[in-house]
Protein backbone atom coordinates (compact mmCIF):
# COMPACT_ATOMS: atom_id res chain seq x y z
CA UNK A 1 0.00 0.00 0.00
CA UNK A 2 2.87 2.37 0.81
CA UNK A 3 6.29 2.07 -0.81
CA UNK A 4 9.15 4.35 0.17
CA UNK A 5 12.12 4.15 -2.17
CA UNK A 6 15.55 5.64 -1.45
CA UNK A 7 14.19 8.67 0.41
CA UNK A 8 16.68 11.43 1.20
CA UNK A 9 16.01 14.58 3.21
CA UNK A 10 18.37 17.20 4.60
CA UNK A 11 17.75 20.35 6.62
CA UNK A 12 20.66 22.65 5.79
CA UNK A 13 23.83 20.65 6.34
CA UNK A 14 22.06 18.05 8.52
CA UNK A 15 21.21 14.88 6.61
CA UNK A 16 18.18 13.40 8.35
CA UNK A 17 17.12 10.67 5.92
CA UNK A 18 19.88 9.00 3.90
CA UNK A 19 18.07 6.57 1.64
CA UNK A 20 15.09 5.14 3.49
CA UNK A 21 13.46 2.09 1.88
CA UNK A 22 10.30 0.66 3.40
CA UNK A 23 7.13 -1.09 2.28
CA UNK A 24 3.91 -1.12 4.29
CA UNK A 25 1.34 -3.74 3.26
CA UNK A 26 -2.40 -3.13 3.23
CA UNK A 27 -3.99 -3.75 6.62
CA UNK A 28 -0.75 -4.16 8.54
CA UNK A 29 0.57 -2.14 11.44
CA UNK A 30 4.15 -1.09 10.79
CA UNK A 31 5.94 0.34 13.80
CA UNK A 32 8.98 2.48 13.12
CA UNK A 33 11.33 2.65 16.10
CA UNK A 34 14.41 4.77 16.55
CA UNK A 35 16.11 7.25 18.82
CA UNK A 36 14.68 10.69 19.46
CA UNK A 37 15.82 12.95 16.62
CA UNK A 38 16.50 10.05 14.28
CA UNK A 39 14.04 11.38 11.69
CA UNK A 40 10.96 9.27 12.46
CA UNK A 41 8.59 12.26 12.43
CA UNK A 42 10.29 13.61 9.30
CA UNK A 43 9.62 10.26 7.62
CA UNK A 44 5.94 10.25 8.57
CA UNK A 45 5.49 13.84 7.37
CA UNK A 46 6.75 12.83 3.92
CA UNK A 47 4.00 10.23 3.66
CA UNK A 48 1.29 12.87 3.86
CA UNK A 49 3.08 15.46 1.75
CA UNK A 50 3.90 17.83 4.60
CA UNK A 51 7.54 17.62 3.58
CA UNK A 52 9.03 17.19 0.11
CA UNK A 53 12.04 14.89 -0.13
CA UNK A 54 15.35 15.96 -1.65
CA UNK A 55 15.23 12.75 -3.66
CA UNK A 56 13.46 9.43 -3.62
CA UNK A 57 9.92 8.25 -4.27
CA UNK A 58 6.85 7.49 -2.21
CA UNK A 59 4.04 5.42 -3.68
CA UNK A 60 0.61 5.33 -2.04
CA UNK A 61 -1.44 2.69 -3.84
CA UNK A 62 0.79 3.02 -6.91
CA UNK A 63 0.48 6.83 -7.04
CA UNK A 64 3.83 8.57 -6.72
CA UNK A 65 3.04 11.45 -4.35
CA UNK A 66 6.25 13.44 -4.09
CA UNK A 67 5.60 15.38 -7.31
CA UNK A 68 1.89 15.97 -6.93
CA UNK A 69 0.44 19.48 -6.97
CA UNK A 70 -1.37 20.73 -3.86
CA UNK A 71 -4.88 19.85 -5.07
CA UNK A 72 -3.84 16.39 -6.29
CA UNK A 73 -2.07 15.79 -3.00
CA UNK A 74 -5.25 16.68 -1.10
CA UNK A 75 -7.00 13.73 -2.73
CA UNK A 76 -4.27 11.45 -1.38
CA UNK A 77 -4.14 12.99 2.10
CA UNK A 78 -7.84 12.17 2.43
CA UNK A 79 -6.77 8.53 2.76
CA UNK A 80 -4.58 9.41 5.75
CA UNK A 81 -5.33 10.20 9.35
CA UNK A 82 -2.45 11.66 11.32
CA UNK A 83 -2.09 11.74 15.08
CA UNK A 84 0.45 14.42 15.88
CA UNK A 85 3.05 14.06 18.60
CA UNK A 86 1.72 17.15 20.39
CA UNK A 87 -1.92 16.54 19.30
CA UNK A 88 -1.95 19.83 17.28
CA UNK A 89 -5.51 20.68 18.28
CA UNK A 90 -6.88 23.95 16.90
CA UNK A 91 -6.87 26.06 20.03
CA UNK A 92 -9.60 28.43 18.86
CA UNK A 93 -12.10 25.57 18.49
CA UNK A 94 -13.91 23.32 20.95
CA UNK A 95 -13.16 19.61 21.13
CA UNK A 96 -16.25 18.80 19.02
CA UNK A 97 -15.32 21.41 16.39
CA UNK A 98 -11.82 19.95 16.23
CA UNK A 99 -13.19 16.47 15.64
CA UNK A 100 -15.66 17.54 12.97
CA UNK A 101 -13.08 19.64 11.08
CA UNK A 102 -11.95 16.76 8.86
CA UNK A 103 -15.52 15.47 8.52
CA UNK A 104 -16.64 18.78 7.02
CA UNK A 105 -13.89 18.67 4.42
CA UNK A 106 -13.53 15.00 3.62
CA UNK A 107 -17.10 13.68 3.85
CA UNK A 108 -20.59 14.59 2.69
CA UNK A 109 -22.32 13.59 5.92
CA UNK A 110 -25.44 15.41 7.05
CA UNK A 111 -25.32 17.62 10.15
CA UNK A 112 -26.99 14.89 12.21
CA UNK A 113 -24.60 12.19 10.95
CA UNK A 114 -21.66 14.45 11.68
CA UNK A 115 -22.78 15.02 15.26
CA UNK A 116 -23.22 11.27 15.65
CA UNK A 117 -19.77 10.59 14.21
CA UNK A 118 -18.16 13.18 16.51
CA UNK A 119 -19.82 11.61 19.58
CA UNK A 120 -18.86 8.14 18.40
CA UNK A 121 -15.20 9.09 17.79
CA UNK A 122 -14.92 10.81 21.17
CA UNK A 123 -16.57 7.78 22.77
CA UNK A 124 -13.90 5.51 21.26
CA UNK A 125 -11.17 7.47 23.05
CA UNK A 126 -13.17 7.77 26.29
CA UNK A 127 -13.91 11.49 26.05
CA UNK A 128 -17.66 11.59 25.45
CA UNK A 129 -18.12 14.32 28.04
CA UNK A 130 -15.49 16.64 26.60
CA UNK A 131 -17.31 17.85 23.48
CA UNK A 132 -17.76 21.43 24.64
CA UNK A 133 -14.37 21.90 26.28
CA UNK A 134 -11.64 24.07 24.77
CA UNK A 135 -8.18 22.54 24.23
CA UNK A 136 -6.65 24.68 27.00
CA UNK A 137 -8.98 22.96 29.47
CA UNK A 138 -7.57 19.52 28.62
CA UNK A 139 -4.59 17.66 30.04
CA UNK A 140 -1.79 16.56 27.69
CA UNK A 141 -3.14 13.02 27.56
CA UNK A 142 -6.69 14.19 26.85
CA UNK A 143 -5.44 16.40 24.03
CA UNK A 144 -3.72 13.39 22.52
CA UNK A 145 -6.93 11.38 22.67
CA UNK A 146 -8.93 14.20 21.08
CA UNK A 147 -6.24 14.33 18.38
CA UNK A 148 -6.79 10.63 17.82
CA UNK A 149 -10.58 11.04 17.71
CA UNK A 150 -10.12 13.82 15.13
CA UNK A 151 -7.84 11.65 13.01
CA UNK A 152 -10.14 8.61 12.96
CA UNK A 153 -13.44 10.51 12.67
CA UNK A 154 -13.52 10.53 8.85
CA UNK A 155 -12.50 6.85 8.65
CA UNK A 156 -9.16 7.13 6.87
CA UNK A 157 -7.68 4.08 5.14
CA UNK A 158 -4.23 4.68 6.58
CA UNK A 159 -3.46 5.96 10.08
CA UNK A 160 -0.16 7.57 10.92
CA UNK A 161 0.60 7.77 14.64
CA UNK A 162 3.44 10.00 15.79
CA UNK A 163 4.36 8.84 19.31
CA UNK A 164 0.80 7.82 20.33
CA UNK A 165 1.74 6.82 23.87
CA UNK A 166 4.03 9.74 24.75
CA UNK A 167 2.61 11.91 27.53
CA UNK A 168 -0.09 9.41 28.48
CA UNK A 169 -0.17 7.27 31.61
CA UNK A 170 0.54 3.55 31.07
CA UNK A 171 -3.09 2.51 31.44
CA UNK A 172 -4.33 5.06 28.89
CA UNK A 173 -1.39 4.17 26.65
CA UNK A 174 -2.50 0.54 26.73
CA UNK A 175 -6.06 1.61 25.92
CA UNK A 176 -4.70 3.52 22.90
CA UNK A 177 -2.81 0.39 21.84
CA UNK A 178 -6.05 -1.59 22.08
CA UNK A 179 -7.78 1.06 20.00
CA UNK A 180 -5.08 0.87 17.31
CA UNK A 181 -5.56 -2.91 17.20
CA UNK A 182 -9.34 -2.53 17.17
CA UNK A 183 -9.20 -0.09 14.22
CA UNK A 184 -7.06 -2.58 12.35
CA UNK A 185 -9.36 -5.53 13.06
CA UNK A 186 -12.72 -3.77 12.66
CA UNK A 187 -11.97 -1.43 9.77
CA UNK A 188 -8.86 -2.93 8.21
CA UNK A 189 -6.95 0.30 8.70
CA UNK A 190 -3.30 0.26 7.66
CA UNK A 191 -1.15 1.91 10.32
CA UNK A 192 2.30 3.39 10.53
CA UNK A 193 3.27 4.04 14.14
CA UNK A 194 6.29 6.06 15.16
CA UNK A 195 7.42 5.30 18.68
CA UNK A 196 10.27 4.43 20.97
CA UNK A 197 7.96 2.67 23.42
CA UNK A 198 8.90 -1.01 23.02
CA UNK A 199 6.01 -2.30 25.16
CA UNK A 200 3.52 -0.66 22.78
CA UNK A 201 5.54 -1.75 19.75
CA UNK A 202 5.35 -5.43 20.66
CA UNK A 203 1.63 -5.17 21.36
CA UNK A 204 0.52 -3.44 18.16
CA UNK A 205 3.12 -4.23 15.51
CA UNK A 206 2.78 -6.72 12.70
CA UNK A 207 6.27 -5.65 11.70
CA UNK A 208 8.83 -3.35 13.26
CA UNK A 209 11.36 -1.25 11.33
CA UNK A 210 14.36 0.33 13.02
CA UNK A 211 15.45 3.75 11.73
CA UNK A 212 19.05 4.51 12.56
CA UNK A 213 21.44 7.06 11.07
CA UNK A 214 18.90 8.03 8.41
CA UNK A 215 18.31 4.49 7.13
CA UNK A 216 16.06 1.55 7.92
CA UNK A 217 18.57 -0.96 9.24
CA UNK A 218 16.21 -3.87 9.86
CA UNK A 219 12.56 -4.83 9.35
CA UNK A 220 10.92 -7.83 10.95
CA UNK A 221 8.12 -9.20 13.07
CA UNK A 222 8.29 -8.39 16.79
CA UNK A 223 9.76 -11.87 17.34
CA UNK A 224 12.41 -11.34 14.68
CA UNK A 225 13.34 -7.95 16.08
CA UNK A 226 13.59 -9.37 19.61
CA UNK A 227 15.97 -12.05 18.44
CA UNK A 228 17.91 -9.82 16.04
CA UNK A 229 21.67 -10.19 16.14
CA UNK A 230 22.16 -6.54 15.26
CA UNK A 231 23.86 -4.94 18.28
CA UNK A 232 22.26 -1.55 17.56
CA UNK A 233 18.76 -3.06 17.70
CA UNK A 234 19.55 -5.02 20.84
CA UNK A 235 20.89 -1.90 22.57
CA UNK A 236 17.81 0.10 21.55
CA UNK A 237 15.12 -2.44 22.46
CA UNK A 238 16.72 -3.11 25.82
CA UNK A 239 17.29 0.57 26.50
CA UNK A 240 20.97 0.24 27.35
CA UNK A 241 23.30 3.22 27.52
CA UNK A 242 26.33 1.06 26.62
CA UNK A 243 26.58 -0.22 23.08
CA UNK A 244 27.25 0.83 19.50
CA UNK A 245 24.80 3.78 19.70
CA UNK A 246 26.92 6.55 21.17
CA UNK A 247 25.26 9.75 19.97
CA UNK A 248 22.66 10.05 22.71
Amino acid sequence: MIRIIDLHKSFGPKKVLRGVNLTVKRGETMVVIGQSGSGKSVLIKHLIGLLKPDSGEIYVEDVEITHLRDDELMRITKKFGLLFQGAALFDSMTVAENVRFGLERYTRLSEEEMQKRVAESLGLVGLSEAECLMPFELSGGMKKRVGLARAIAYRPEIMLYDEPSTGIDPIRADAINDLINKLKCDMGITSVVITHDMVSSYKIADRIAMLYDGEIIEVGTPGEIRSSENAIIQQFIHGQADGPIKDW
Binding site: K45, G81, F84, L89, D91, G102, Y106
Partner: protein, 263 residues
Protein backbone atom coordinates in the same frame (compact mmCIF):
# COMPACT_ATOMS: atom_id res chain seq x y z
CA UNK B 1 25.15 31.24 11.37
CA UNK B 2 23.89 34.04 9.12
CA UNK B 3 26.22 35.14 6.37
CA UNK B 4 26.98 38.82 7.10
CA UNK B 5 29.11 39.52 4.02
CA UNK B 6 27.57 41.95 1.45
CA UNK B 7 26.93 39.03 -0.93
CA UNK B 8 25.36 37.00 1.87
CA UNK B 9 23.09 39.86 2.92
CA UNK B 10 22.04 40.48 -0.68
CA UNK B 11 21.34 36.80 -1.20
CA UNK B 12 19.36 36.72 2.06
CA UNK B 13 17.32 39.74 0.99
CA UNK B 14 16.48 38.14 -2.38
CA UNK B 15 15.60 34.90 -0.62
CA UNK B 16 13.16 36.74 1.68
CA UNK B 17 11.71 38.68 -1.24
CA UNK B 18 11.23 35.44 -3.14
CA UNK B 19 9.57 33.83 -0.14
CA UNK B 20 7.05 36.64 0.40
CA UNK B 21 6.51 36.95 -3.37
CA UNK B 22 5.74 33.24 -3.58
CA UNK B 23 3.21 33.52 -0.75
CA UNK B 24 1.58 36.48 -2.51
CA UNK B 25 1.42 34.52 -5.76
CA UNK B 26 -0.13 31.49 -4.05
CA UNK B 27 -2.63 33.73 -2.25
CA UNK B 28 -3.73 35.31 -5.53
CA UNK B 29 -3.98 31.84 -7.10
CA UNK B 30 -6.24 30.65 -4.30
CA UNK B 31 -8.32 33.82 -4.09
CA UNK B 32 -11.31 32.51 -6.03
CA UNK B 33 -10.95 28.80 -5.38
CA UNK B 34 -13.41 26.78 -3.34
CA UNK B 35 -14.08 26.03 -0.58
CA UNK B 36 -14.29 29.64 0.54
CA UNK B 37 -13.84 30.17 4.24
CA UNK B 38 -16.74 32.59 4.79
CA UNK B 39 -16.78 32.14 8.56
CA UNK B 40 -13.12 33.09 8.92
CA UNK B 41 -13.53 35.97 6.47
CA UNK B 42 -16.35 37.37 8.64
CA UNK B 43 -14.27 36.95 11.79
CA UNK B 44 -11.36 38.76 10.16
CA UNK B 45 -13.58 41.56 8.85
CA UNK B 46 -14.70 42.11 12.43
CA UNK B 47 -11.19 41.78 13.84
CA UNK B 48 -9.56 44.14 11.34
CA UNK B 49 -12.47 46.53 10.87
CA UNK B 50 -14.78 46.81 13.85
CA UNK B 51 -12.19 46.17 16.54
CA UNK B 52 -9.81 48.74 15.05
CA UNK B 53 -12.34 51.57 15.26
CA UNK B 54 -11.24 52.88 18.69
CA UNK B 55 -7.56 53.11 17.77
CA UNK B 56 -8.36 54.63 14.36
CA UNK B 57 -10.72 57.15 16.00
CA UNK B 58 -8.05 58.32 18.42
CA UNK B 59 -5.29 58.40 15.82
CA UNK B 60 -7.41 60.28 13.27
CA UNK B 61 -8.80 62.73 15.85
CA UNK B 62 -5.42 63.74 17.23
CA UNK B 63 -3.83 63.62 13.77
CA UNK B 64 -6.54 66.00 12.54
CA UNK B 65 -6.18 68.27 15.58
CA UNK B 66 -2.42 68.63 15.30
CA UNK B 67 -2.57 69.07 11.52
CA UNK B 68 -5.30 71.68 11.98
CA UNK B 69 -3.17 73.43 14.59
CA UNK B 70 -0.05 73.56 12.40
CA UNK B 71 -1.99 74.62 9.31
CA UNK B 72 -3.67 77.41 11.23
CA UNK B 73 -0.28 78.53 12.60
CA UNK B 74 1.28 78.42 9.14
CA UNK B 75 -1.39 80.50 7.46
CA UNK B 76 -1.64 82.93 10.38
CA UNK B 77 2.13 83.45 10.63
CA UNK B 78 3.24 83.45 6.98
CA UNK B 79 0.23 84.74 5.04
CA UNK B 80 -1.63 86.73 7.63
CA UNK B 81 -4.81 86.85 9.67
CA UNK B 82 -7.90 85.82 7.67
CA UNK B 83 -6.01 83.41 5.44
CA UNK B 84 -6.68 80.57 7.91
CA UNK B 85 -9.94 79.90 6.06
CA UNK B 86 -7.77 78.19 3.45
CA UNK B 87 -6.70 75.64 6.06
CA UNK B 88 -9.80 73.52 5.20
CA UNK B 89 -8.71 72.27 1.76
CA UNK B 90 -5.09 71.88 2.92
CA UNK B 91 -6.22 69.79 5.88
CA UNK B 92 -8.48 67.68 3.66
CA UNK B 93 -5.74 67.17 1.09
CA UNK B 94 -3.03 66.35 3.64
CA UNK B 95 -5.16 64.09 5.78
CA UNK B 96 -7.07 62.19 3.09
CA UNK B 97 -4.17 61.74 0.71
CA UNK B 98 -1.27 61.11 3.04
CA UNK B 99 -1.61 61.35 6.79
CA UNK B 100 -4.67 59.19 7.50
CA UNK B 101 -3.73 56.30 5.15
CA UNK B 102 -0.23 56.22 6.65
CA UNK B 103 -1.35 56.56 10.27
CA UNK B 104 -4.08 53.96 9.87
CA UNK B 105 -1.66 51.68 7.99
CA UNK B 106 0.92 51.93 10.78
CA UNK B 107 -1.71 51.39 13.47
CA UNK B 108 -3.19 48.36 11.70
CA UNK B 109 0.21 46.86 11.07
CA UNK B 110 0.89 47.16 14.80
CA UNK B 111 -2.50 45.92 15.93
CA UNK B 112 -3.55 43.44 13.26
CA UNK B 113 -0.36 42.47 11.39
CA UNK B 114 1.46 41.53 14.57
CA UNK B 115 -1.54 39.57 15.81
CA UNK B 116 -1.72 37.65 12.50
CA UNK B 117 1.97 36.80 12.80
CA UNK B 118 1.58 35.71 16.43
CA UNK B 119 -1.51 33.59 15.76
CA UNK B 120 -0.20 31.87 12.63
CA UNK B 121 3.29 31.58 14.16
CA UNK B 122 1.86 29.79 17.20
CA UNK B 123 -0.10 27.53 14.87
CA UNK B 124 3.11 26.81 12.98
CA UNK B 125 5.16 25.80 16.00
CA UNK B 126 2.35 23.71 17.53
CA UNK B 127 1.87 21.84 14.22
CA UNK B 128 -1.66 23.21 13.76
CA UNK B 129 -0.82 24.26 10.19
CA UNK B 130 0.33 20.72 9.44
CA UNK B 131 -2.92 19.52 11.02
CA UNK B 132 -4.92 21.79 8.69
CA UNK B 133 -3.17 20.22 5.74
CA UNK B 134 -3.73 16.68 7.02
CA UNK B 135 -7.44 17.42 7.54
CA UNK B 136 -8.00 18.64 4.02
CA UNK B 137 -7.76 22.40 4.50
CA UNK B 138 -5.28 24.24 2.30
CA UNK B 139 -3.45 26.54 4.79
CA UNK B 140 -3.16 29.33 2.21
CA UNK B 141 -6.89 29.19 1.46
CA UNK B 142 -7.83 28.76 5.12
CA UNK B 143 -5.48 31.26 6.78
CA UNK B 144 -3.99 33.70 4.29
CA UNK B 145 -6.79 34.32 1.77
CA UNK B 146 -9.48 35.40 4.31
CA UNK B 147 -7.02 37.67 6.13
CA UNK B 148 -5.81 39.28 2.91
CA UNK B 149 -9.34 39.81 1.63
CA UNK B 150 -10.50 41.21 4.96
CA UNK B 151 -7.56 43.63 5.14
CA UNK B 152 -8.10 44.65 1.50
CA UNK B 153 -11.75 45.51 2.12
CA UNK B 154 -11.49 46.90 5.64
CA UNK B 155 -8.51 49.23 5.25
CA UNK B 156 -10.35 51.66 2.91
CA UNK B 157 -13.36 51.62 5.24
CA UNK B 158 -11.13 52.50 8.18
CA UNK B 159 -9.30 55.17 6.19
CA UNK B 160 -12.59 56.72 5.03
CA UNK B 161 -13.79 56.72 8.63
CA UNK B 162 -10.45 58.21 9.73
CA UNK B 163 -10.72 60.89 7.02
CA UNK B 164 -14.09 62.00 8.38
CA UNK B 165 -12.87 62.07 11.97
CA UNK B 166 -9.62 63.85 11.03
CA UNK B 167 -11.31 66.48 8.85
CA UNK B 168 -13.88 67.13 11.59
CA UNK B 169 -11.05 67.45 14.13
CA UNK B 170 -9.29 69.98 11.86
CA UNK B 171 -12.57 71.90 11.55
CA UNK B 172 -13.05 71.75 15.31
CA UNK B 173 -9.60 73.25 15.95
CA UNK B 174 -9.83 76.01 13.37
CA UNK B 175 -13.50 76.98 13.51
CA UNK B 176 -14.58 76.15 17.05
CA UNK B 177 -11.36 76.73 18.99
CA UNK B 178 -9.62 79.44 16.94
CA UNK B 179 -12.74 81.21 15.62
CA UNK B 180 -12.00 80.97 11.88
CA UNK B 181 -15.03 81.97 9.78
CA UNK B 182 -17.10 78.81 9.46
CA UNK B 183 -18.85 79.64 6.19
CA UNK B 184 -15.69 80.60 4.30
CA UNK B 185 -13.74 77.69 5.80
CA UNK B 186 -16.36 75.21 4.55
CA UNK B 187 -16.75 77.03 1.25
CA UNK B 188 -13.00 76.91 0.57
CA UNK B 189 -12.87 73.26 1.55
CA UNK B 190 -15.67 72.35 -0.86
CA UNK B 191 -14.22 74.52 -3.60
CA UNK B 192 -10.63 73.27 -3.57
CA UNK B 193 -10.72 69.77 -2.11
CA UNK B 194 -11.44 66.97 -4.60
CA UNK B 195 -13.07 63.57 -4.29
CA UNK B 196 -9.88 62.33 -5.96
CA UNK B 197 -7.91 63.37 -2.85
CA UNK B 198 -9.99 60.96 -0.80
CA UNK B 199 -9.94 58.30 -3.53
CA UNK B 200 -6.13 58.42 -3.65
CA UNK B 201 -5.98 57.63 0.06
CA UNK B 202 -8.45 54.79 -0.39
CA UNK B 203 -6.44 53.26 -3.24
CA UNK B 204 -3.32 53.44 -1.09
CA UNK B 205 -5.11 51.86 1.85
CA UNK B 206 -6.13 48.81 -0.23
CA UNK B 207 -2.46 48.25 -1.10
CA UNK B 208 -1.41 48.78 2.53
CA UNK B 209 -4.05 46.27 3.67
CA UNK B 210 -2.68 43.59 1.37
CA UNK B 211 0.89 44.38 2.46
CA UNK B 212 0.00 44.12 6.17
CA UNK B 213 -1.86 40.81 5.75
CA UNK B 214 0.71 39.18 3.48
CA UNK B 215 3.65 40.24 5.66
CA UNK B 216 1.88 39.12 8.86
CA UNK B 217 0.90 35.74 7.38
CA UNK B 218 4.31 35.27 5.78
CA UNK B 219 6.14 35.93 9.04
CA UNK B 220 3.71 33.63 10.87
CA UNK B 221 4.20 30.84 8.34
CA UNK B 222 7.99 31.19 8.58
CA UNK B 223 8.07 31.12 12.38
CA UNK B 224 10.61 28.77 13.92
CA UNK B 225 11.94 28.24 17.40
CA UNK B 226 9.13 28.41 19.94
CA UNK B 227 7.97 31.47 21.88
CA UNK B 228 11.10 33.42 20.98
CA UNK B 229 10.40 32.78 17.31
CA UNK B 230 6.83 34.04 17.67
CA UNK B 231 8.13 37.23 19.32
CA UNK B 232 10.63 37.71 16.51
CA UNK B 233 7.92 37.18 13.88
CA UNK B 234 5.62 39.81 15.40
CA UNK B 235 8.41 42.38 15.68
CA UNK B 236 9.56 41.74 12.12
CA UNK B 237 5.98 42.01 10.86
CA UNK B 238 5.57 45.48 12.34
CA UNK B 239 8.97 46.67 11.13
CA UNK B 240 8.69 45.24 7.60
CA UNK B 241 5.09 46.29 7.00
CA UNK B 242 5.63 49.80 8.45
CA UNK B 243 8.68 50.42 6.28
CA UNK B 244 6.90 48.95 3.24
CA UNK B 245 3.93 51.25 3.85
CA UNK B 246 6.15 54.34 4.01
CA UNK B 247 8.09 53.38 0.87
CA UNK B 248 5.02 52.32 -1.11
CA UNK B 249 3.20 55.50 -0.06
CA UNK B 250 5.83 57.63 -1.80
CA UNK B 251 5.73 55.62 -5.01
CA UNK B 252 1.93 55.44 -5.16
CA UNK B 253 1.76 59.21 -4.54
CA UNK B 254 4.15 59.76 -7.43
CA UNK B 255 2.36 57.27 -9.65
CA UNK B 256 -1.18 58.54 -9.17
CA UNK B 257 -2.12 61.92 -10.71
CA UNK B 258 -2.20 64.79 -8.19
CA UNK B 259 -5.58 65.93 -9.48
CA UNK B 260 -8.18 64.80 -11.96
CA UNK B 261 -9.06 68.40 -12.84
CA UNK B 262 -7.30 69.57 -15.98
CA UNK B 263 -4.13 71.65 -15.73
Amino acid sequence: MANLSPNGLLLGAFEQLGSVGWLFFKTMKNLFRRPREHQILLQQLEEIGVRSLPVVSLTAAFGGLVFGFQTYTGFHRYIGPGSETYAGPIITLGLAKELIPILVGLMISGRVGSSMAAEIGTMRITEQIDALHSLGANPIRYLVVPRTLAAFFMMPCLVLYGDIIGILAGYFYNVILMGVNRVIYVQNTLMYAEIWDVATGLIKSCVFGVVIAIVGCWQGMETEGGAEGVGRATTRTVVISSISILILNFFISKLLPATLKGG
